[in-house]
Amino acid sequence: MMQAFDRLVAWWVSPLRISTIGLIRFALGLVTVFYFSDALTDVSFWFGVEGVHSSQNVAEFLQRSGLQDAAAASISPLFLTDSLWVYQTYCLLGIAIATAMMLGRGGQWICVAAWLSVVLWSNRLLWLAGLTETILSLSLFATCFAPTWKVPLWNRRNLIAGEADALSPATGFSIRLLAVQATLIGLATWLSMLAGEVWWNGTGAVALAAPESARSLGLVDSLRSPWIHEILTLAIVVTLPLGLSLAWRSGPDHSVRRYGVAILNGWAVLIAVLGSHWIYSGTLVCAFTAIQWAATPRELMPND
């Protein structure tokens, strides 16, 4: 029993190259920068003394609805103030932290700071937050464990080899956590999708693009042909499990895992284009990419 558990522990902490998490952090940092930049655009409407979602308005609503207990776990220091400049500064700070994380500056704790900045902001949003914040929080959390890898902006030789790209068990742990979480999200999405009739009658792609006024790209007219929307629906339903099974395939051929990740990332891009889920899909692309490294069998891992 203990041996079996130790094998599981050994899988979690099998070392991986530090550069792998560096690339993931770069991409996730970029998504986080985009997230906080976007949050700045409507911060004055929701927050501040006259904000629709001000602390005072939220407190009154929670008291009248009797939901204080449900919201009690959503801890954030931003509930303590209604000063608009605090919220604006918070977003700017979030952008700065995410930029530092992208570039591998500030040590490992900058990743913890990036994760906490998203969590505390999301907790303050309460019912304004959605699935995007959850996936971003999970993904940033997974990157917190690995050591820092500086993006070699000026010295490209570091990118190829050398001390900066050593093997690290903590990196292996981070990459695997990211990959397993992405797989859980993918499976849950796929299973719950299939509970909807639209994914069986071929109109799933139309349903995704149908709320045109809430979509960046008005694609409904181009989906009117049954050939197009049925093929796209089938592609969305089939590629997710296919991509996951290929990306997790163990075996000597690393290219199979790469094809799997390419299919998964293609799926995420399709969802982004049809449903305008840009930050959601961007985060999933980062997380799906981790699967190819997480799934590499131990005997194929490079020696230090």
Binding site: F5, D6, R7, V9, W12, V13, D38, A39, T41, D42, F45, E50, G51, V52, E60, F61, R64, S65, A73, S74, Q108, V118, V119, S122, N123, L125, W127, A129, G130, L131, T132, T134, S137, C144, F145, A170, F173, L177, Q181, L184, A188, T189, S192, M193, A195, G196, V198, G204, A207, A210, P211, E212, S213, A214, S216, L217, I236, R298, P302, D304
Partner: protein
């Protein structure tokens, strides 16, 4: 915390299964619990079972504090339900109360989530809570200034038609409809009840 768990992991390149330290075991045990709660939260969005509800009741403080839980938000991409139609909060059917946003941007998503909360409360017959949410929006707009106010302003929460909505969906009454009363800058809303089926003949004219 990661350093503590990983510092004794031995030779990095070894392909032999090593004896794990108790810190590593404890850390992996914690992560397995974390993944179990996240998976339960993700899978409970369509219709949570009794077990799922019990597990989430225990795990919710952790999931909410860290924002790891989906908290009943749908993880499916679309089901084509009327609930997925965009919502609009309008005064007298023509004027949007919420500021314009870029379609598909995060600001638009936040507006839709806020409107979905208002819509959910309206469907659950909670007009006072709906008013609690809508009032701050009205107070930010011109309806607080009597000179600018139009005659008999009404606030309506409506579902916008989409290509998948049918005629019956499009003719459905507003999710929420209320009269805005502006008493010298003091704003109040009085909810109007939707018309109900009745046996009384209406619309006839006597000649």
């Amino acid at each position: 915390m990661a350093r503590l768990a990983f510092q004794n992991s031995g030779d990095h390149g070894s392909r032999v299964v090593r004896t794990m330290t108790w810190k590593q075991r404890g850390f992996v045990l914690f992560i397995m619990g974390h993944l179990f709660l996240v998976a339960t939260s993700l899978l409970s969005t369509v219709s949570p079972s009794g077990w799922m509800s019990q597990i989430l009741a225990v795990g919710n403080p952790y999931l909410r504090a860290t924002h790891f839980g989906v908290d009943a938000r749908p993880v499916y991409l679309a089901h084509g339900n009327p609930n997925e139609q965009p919502l609009r909060l309008r005064v007298n059917d023509d004027e949007e109360l919420l500021p314009n946003t870029i379609a598909g941007a995060g600001s638009d998503d936040r507006q839709q989530r806020w409107l979905a909360t208002v819509g959910l409360l309206a469907e659950q017959e909670q007009p006072s809570l709906v008013a609690e949410l809508v009032m701050p929006v009205l107070q930010r707009t011109q309806w607080q200034r009597p000179s600018d106010a139009i005659q008999d302003p009404m606030v309506r929460l409506i579902r916008e038609p989409t290509i998948l909505s049918d005629v019956l969906d499009d003719q459905a009454p507003p999710l929420y409809e209320a009269k805005i009363i502006n008493n010298q800058g003091e704003i109040a809303v009085v909810r109007l009840l939707p018309p109900r089926l009745t046996a009384t003949a209406i619309g006839g004219t006597s000649q």
